[in-house]
């Protein structure tokens, strides 16, 4: 599904994002990416979504070299990726329903499809009853659920979450992680960059550890080995 071959990314200011990374995440896998701030977690995710391009090496998504894609192909790549962020990124002047529908409108889904899929997605994250609420009327956990619904509504093959629980309390964090797990059970590949040691340790998933841009360990049913 996702493959990194000797990928190196050095930013213009000389900061090393990723150094010679090799990685393969198969279809339907669930993997945590852990490491300190600046260890390269976000760089790794941004290389997948092509917000960044590697200096050397190759990043493949679905067998396609992401770096070699034309500018017009990038939106198509992103349609196959659902994204969730620490800071939610919801449109404040739209309701939960409209925020999720927005993702479908942007890929020109039929209005009929939008009316059918949006309530389904909101139901899946347990927000069926809050469809008409604006983000400011929702709690942090609820907002992140809306984001998750938005990421899932177009049925992406891969869900990418960058510190999805960074702004949430422990109980809510667990709810979100469980939801991600549920999404994964339904067949979506899930990649989660996180700091949450307790959750990572308890969930017993694959853990990819980064340190200063290098993958230092990659373990099935692994543990979070760093102390932040």
């Amino acid at each position: 599904m996702i493959r990194f071959i000797d990928v190196t990314k050095v930013y213009a200011n000389g900061v090393v994002g990723l150094a010679g990374a090799n990685l393969h995440v198969g279809k339907g896998e669930f993997a945590f990416i852990v490491g300190e701030s600046g260890s390269g977690k976000s760089t790794l995710l941004k290389l997948i979504t092509r917000e960044e391009t590697p200096n050397t090496g190759e990043v493949q998504v679905n067998g396609y070299n992401v770096h070699a894609m034309g500018r017009w192909e990038v939106p198509l790549l992103r349609r196959s990726l659902g994204m969730v962020f620490q800071d939610f990124r919801l449109l404040p002047n739209r309701t939960a329903y409209e925020n999720v529908a927005f993702a479908m409108q942007m890929v020109e889904s039929l209005p009929r499809e939008i009316r059918r899929q949006v309530p389904l997605a909101l139901g899946l994250v347990g927000l069926g009853k809050k469809a008409r609420s604006y983000p400011s009327q929702l709690s942090g956990g609820e907002q992140q659920r809306v984001v998750l619904a938005r990421a899932l509504v177009n049925n992406p093959a891969v869900l990418i979450a960058d510190e999805p629980t960074g702004n949430l309390d422990p109980k809510t964090s667990w709810e979100i992680m469980n939801l991600l797990d549920e999404v994964n059970q339904r067949g979506t590949t899930v990649l989660v960059a996180t700091h949450e040691k307790n959750i990572v340790d308890a969930m017993k998933k694959r853990v990819i550890s980064l340190e200063r841009g290098t993958i230092i360990s990659d373990a099935e049913k692994g543990r979070y080995e760093h102390e932040d």
Partner: protein
């Protein structure tokens, strides 16, 4: 892009204009000023040109005949003028006989005593000719000057070549200055609009980022800003036109009265109606163009997330 998407994104653009009232008003204000300056330059140019054309049309070739000219020579000159008139080179012409000349001279002196001793026999007959194209003066005069019966140089043929050259030269300078000013105005306007759109792009960077993340095409992302620019352009054009229409109407009435009072009745401002349509078109085309181009420039600069 599907029509419903276009509608959705256009609505977005229009609502941005309303949502960012202050910013929109500021940029409409600046574009209106730019358009008004453009209109002013254009109207001044049109008026100067119209008055100069009038002056040029009134330039006459005066041909004075010998006092003792015979009928044959006179008829030959007349025939030449008629021939050129038939060829479309002469707009109109007039023959002034000795008697006419004497009467005109009499009329121009209040005291008849001054003409004492003069008779119409001493007057010269003349032709006054208005050319269709005053620049062709030399071409018309050349053969004429060879004809018998015309007074010798420098009195025989009188054509204000210098005046004509001055007018033409002035018109050329005016045209160049007008074009240069217009060009500068356009560049400034594009700059102003692109700055305004940049602020909108900045205000909406979150939304743009989300659009990118869910896989919206670049054209989708550009569309609302493009529409916003065009709407600002249209509103500016409408406002500028209203101001120009009212402002010029008032200036036209006031200035023409003033010029007439001051004895400059030959200079008049042209009425608005015939040029109005051109100004409307110009305002809307240029308003929309600078709105659209300005927004594209600024979106292009800021789209590379």
């Amino acid at each position: 892009m599907k029509i419903r998407t276009m509608r959705l994104l256009s609505r977005e653009g229009v609502s941005n204009v309303v949502k960012n009232k202050l910013m929109s008003l500021a940029s409409i204000g600046t574009v209106v000023i730019a358009l008004l300056l453009l209109g002013l330059v254009l109207l001044v140019a049109i008026n100067v040109k119209s008055n100069m054309d009038q002056m040029r049309k009134e330039l006459e070739v005066l041909v004075f005949l010998n006092i003792d000219i015979n009928d044959l020579d006179r008829e030959a000159i007349k025939a030449y003028i008629r021939e050129r008139e038939a060829a479309g080179e002469v707009a109109s012409w007039k023959y002034e006989s000795k008697e006419d000349a004497y009467r005109n001279l009499q009329a121009s002196f209040s005291d008849p005593a001054l003409l004492k001793g003069m008779t119409s026999d001493q007057m010269a007959e003349s032709f006054s000719i208005r050319l269709a194209n005053p620049e062709d003066g030399a071409h018309f005069i050349e053969p004429l000057s060879q004809m018998p019966g015309i007074q010798p140089e420098p009195d025989g043929i009188n054509y204000p070549q210098q005046t004509l050259e001055r007018i033409t030269g002035f018109a050329d300078i005016l045209n160049t200055v007008t074009l240069a000013l217009m060009g500068i105005m356009l560049v400034i306007s594009v700059f102003i609009i692109s700055n305004t759109i940049r602020l909108t792009v900045f205000a909406r960077r979150k939304e743009i980022e989300i659009m990118r993340h869910v896989g919206a095409l670049d054209s989708f992302i550009r569309m609302p800003f493009f529409v916003e620019g065009i709407v600002i352009g249209i509103l500016s054009a409408a406002a500028a036109f209203l101001l120009t229409w009212r402002g010029y109407g008032w200036t036209h009435d006031t200035l023409n009265l003033m010029l007439a009072d001051l004895g400059f009745g030959m200079f008049i401002l042209v009425p608005f109606e015939p040029v109005g349509m051109r100004i409307v078109l110009l305002y809307f085309i240029i308003g929309m163009a600078i709105g659209g181009i300005g927004s594209l420039i600024s979106v292009r600069k800021h789209l590379n997330v």
